[in-house]
């Protein structure tokens, strides 16, 4: 039976899963390219690792969003159908933004691997470029947190 609680749980599940999918894709494509660099220049491990790890934050943001949702559920005690749906919708910003920004940030990290390979001194620039994409996951997370605060 569909209850407010189960709908609210769906929200938390989506926040974690979609954002984590985005991160998995992003980290994996960046990791594949990174291995290519490491096969030639193993000493660049740290730079490659940082660049690979960047698209990983979306999964963490998704988790934070889910945690806030669970918090809200706990605080409510009894979750009505309306409150449950509200929680589900509130989870969507980080879920969807996390999915796409993690994925696409991975692509920017892949491109940044070129900088690591050819201009290792400009490594930070590659990191900043990649972090630009993360902005939108952060905005998503923030929206989720603010919206969850309004559920009563």
């Amino acid at each position: 039976m569909i209850t407010g609680l189960s709908i609210a749980i769906l929200g938390a599940v989506l926040a974690v899963s979609l954002a984590s999918i985005g991160s998995s894709i992003g980290v994996s494509i960046a990791g594949q390219v990174g291995s290519g660099i490491l096969s030639e220049e193993p000493e660049k491990f740290i730079s490659v690792l940082v660049l690979e790890a960047l698209p990983g934050s979306q999964g963490i943001y998704g988790f934070v969003g889910a945690f806030m949702a669970i918090n809200t559920i706990t605080n409510l005690g009894e979750v009505s159908l309306g409150a449950g749906s509200a929680i589900l919708f509130a989870c969507l910003p980080i879920a969807i933004a996390g999915l796409f920004s993690g994925w696409l940030q991975g692509k920017v990290s892949v491109a940044g691997m070129n900088i690591v390979a050819k201009q290792p001194k400009d490594f930070v620039k590659a990191v900043v470029l990649s972090a630009m994409v993360e902005t939108y996951a952060i905005i998503g997370l923030l929206t989720t947190i603010l919206l969850l605060g309004k559920v009563s």
């Binding site: 940082v50 790890a53 960047l54 990983g56 934050s57 963490i60 943001y61 988790f63 934070v64 945690f67 806030m68 918090n71 930070v124 620039k125 990191v127 900043v128 972090a131 630009m132 993360e134 902005t135 952060i138 905005i139 997370l141 923030l142 947190i145 603010l146 605060g149």
Partner: protein, 657 residues
Amino acid sequence: MALAEMNYLHLIALTKDRDRVMDLLQKMGVVEIVSEQTGKESARETRDGEIKDLGYWLAQITFAIRFLTPYAQDKRSPVEKLLHPAISTTEEELNELLKNYPHQDLTIRCEQYEEERNTLTNTVRSLEERVAILRKWERLPFAPQSGTQSTLVILGTLPQPIIAQAQAEMRHLPHYFFSGDEEDKQVPIAIVCKKETAQHIQSILHTHGWKPIAFAEEDSAEIPSRQIPVLEQNIRALTSQLNHQIRELTKIADELPKLKIVSDVLRWKYEQELQHPNLHYTHYTFTIAGWIPARAVKHLEKALDKLTLHSFALTTRKPKQDELAPSVLENKRFIQPYETVTNMYGAPLATDPDPTVFLAPFFTLFFALALTDAGYGIVITLITLLALKFLPLSPGGRKMMQLLMACGLATIVTGALFGSWFGMVAGNLPGWMARFIRSVQAIDPVADPNTFLLIAFGLGVVQIITGIAIKMWWKWKTVSARDALLDEGLWLLFLIVLIGYGVASRGAGTAFVQWCKWTAIGLTLALIATQGRKIKNPVGKIGKGILSLYNVVGYFSDVLSYSRLVALGLATGIIATVVNLVAALFRDMIPYVGWVVYIVILVGGHSFNLMINALGAFIHTARLHFVEYFPKFLEGAGKKFVPFMREARYISLEERE
């Protein structure tokens, strides 16, 4: 505040002193030599031969170091290696080694050793492969190539399940059938048959997935069981040769420190040679042109005086209007660590202000807000403190550690204000701890994210206003007071009034709201009237003025960007709390050793969280500066000052005066 003052330098000295002057310049590392176009190209020296020669030996010695390193037996402990990675040496030892050390012989020997080693290992590998093949045929009672005038030996493998069937098909043809180990999927098969029937047999075999096999020439004439020991004997001999070589190389590897010293010195010589084509010559003199920080001129003059016994001429001048001088950051010691951040952005334009001092307070504060955990702040402070005390850091590394330490200290403060200590929930703690945490806590960000958000936006407004104010001040100083007031001055007023209007219209104070409203309208008109003042065409004038109002949208979205501080700050605390929860869960679930698991999860989880979030805090704080803050007052990208200097890869020189 401003970048270091740079001078353009001309240095003329006697050609006989040239190498010593170049040595001195490289040692002092205060001049960036440039190639000056005079039109008299004949007065230069290309030095292609020397560059090629030195380049060759440099490559050789680099190879030798790489080749020998795996054989080196460094008896020092890993801690000691970490603490003292550089080889310390003196100027005298350098010159002595460069003059007398037979590094060329050594590198040639290394080359020979490498060739020998490769041949040996390759031979051993191919022998081992041959043995592996022969092993499968070990029970073959004759040599693989022992056909006679009328008979033929056919060798190959058949898939194991098909052998019986193939044999049945061949029964009517006279032959001798040998099959090897039937455990294999592909069973070795040898068939001796008459030459006439060979073709028939082969065609039968081929229908059953037959794979013919060819032995190495030397192995075909001998019975496998006799050939194997011969090959193994060979392998043993070669391996012992290899081991002998490894012992030799281990001995030679003791020379590595000296090789490394020579390689650094050779690199310096090489860099010198690369600079030579930039010099101009007359009969007895040579000229160097380049950039030098103004404060270093006196110092250089003094050193040259001593070296050449007054026979030199040095002139300096300020950069011309159209010349782009390289940029040197010059800050008080307290601010210097923040140069790391400026350098990540790239050198500012020589005519721009040095942003370092303006970013320092904001950077520390924003990093602290993006991390917001007092516990993590303490950890960062301790780690950086230990690193600064015990690790031999490069100047750049030192600055980075000092920067992180300042950020860590600030994080302790923000973390305490936000009540986050390793994500612990105050309610679960012993009374005195909870009382302490609560007594210093100012807001609870998880329960009240809106306040945190307002703080972040407020800081964003402050930083952007500061940025515009810096631009105004700089323009006032370097361009004209009029432009500074009409551009940045008007905008500053406009933004402040807008914010005043926004804040006041939420509360009471109607008179003030009215005043803000009319002032804002007045300033809007003023902006429309002034922003297009450099354009002649009156329509374009007004158009440019109206378009400039669009900047408001830019400023607005800039401020929104600071909300990231809230998300990052909250994420740290929440994940820390989750780590504590999960750890406690395991502690209560596992009997007896639960405490061990508890501690492992706590340490691992918090380390991970700290690393990920400190990285995130740093990157996003840097981004706020690079994207939102710097463009408000920096015009463009400059050229970094790259002095001609000694860069050591392996050694550290002991200064002796």
